[in-house]
Symmetry: C2
Subunit: 153 residues, 2 copies
């Protein structure tokens, strides 16, 4: 069921440059912040408000997303390993919160990566990701990263 006030319900298009792929129940987008090269958000197509509400089919389908995305980002960008998290904290700043299930995917890198003449580093590799570090990249670079990931699956 779509929620008319939910950001994810209203912005889940597949015709935007950051869109990478979809499965039956999930949409995968490249994040505009590429402080971790290949950082993505994985959004449930339906509006559900907690992981405990997911159906077995949605979990089964999420497992496919995890495999496809981890392997593609390792193969295409050289990621060493990947961090996954699902929080939905921001929605609770609202008096009437309606969180929408989504996952943050952050590839992590032992070594620096030169991608299209831009060097990406992961100074905190081996440690928790650092949310203070931001790298908002151009639309042109977003398209190039998306294209590179797509080549790998």
């Amino acid at each position: 069921m779509e929620n008319s006030t939910c950001f994810y319900c209203q912005h889940s298009q597949t015709d935007i440059p950051s869109f990478i792929f979809e499965t039956r129940y999930w949409l995968v987008y490249l994040n505009s912040d590429q402080s971790y090269l290949g950082r993505c958000v994985v959004v449930l197509k339906l509006h559900k408000e907690a992981l405990s509400e997911l159906s077995n089919e949605e979990w089964h389908d999420f497992a496919k997303v995890v495999k496809k995305l981890e392997l593609a980002v390792k193969a295409s960008l050289g990621a060493t390993m990947c961090n996954w998290s699902s929080s939905m904290n921001d929605a609770y700043q609202d008096h009437s919160p309606h969180p929408h299930v989504h996952w943050h995917f952050r590839p992590r890198y032992k070594d620096e990566v030169d991608f299209e003449h831009k060097v990406f580093v992961d100074p905190d590799f081996g440690h928790h990701y650092n949310r203070e570090r931001k790298d908002l990249v151009s639309n042109d670079l977003i398209e190039k990263i998306v294209a590179r990931i797509k080549e790998a699956y």
Copy 2:
């Protein structure tokens, strides 16, 4: 397959005070840091090194853990919502990393909770969890929190 140098393979007992419950593929423990009341770690019984290696059965079983734990912690401790993350970063500080799949579960609280005459607060509710905030509680309190969670399922 067990890994002889892996902390999780060597410390996954079910006869310790922090053990809460197990399913076919997962073990659930209360974390000694209770900065987020009811914080747990969910450990895969088998040694696998990335979420992309999980079988469909392990995902299906994890879905059961998520439901059981979220509902129990909401009912027993009054959690508002829950954060889930799987990183395995620390293992990569080793030259020959052998991460073991596990999840961090942090219940989040809109309101403060008085548990056994100790007040637990979540000053960052509505925002990312704060790893600087630590609250290492006594074994006695760990046993009481575990017992309270167990009453709810």
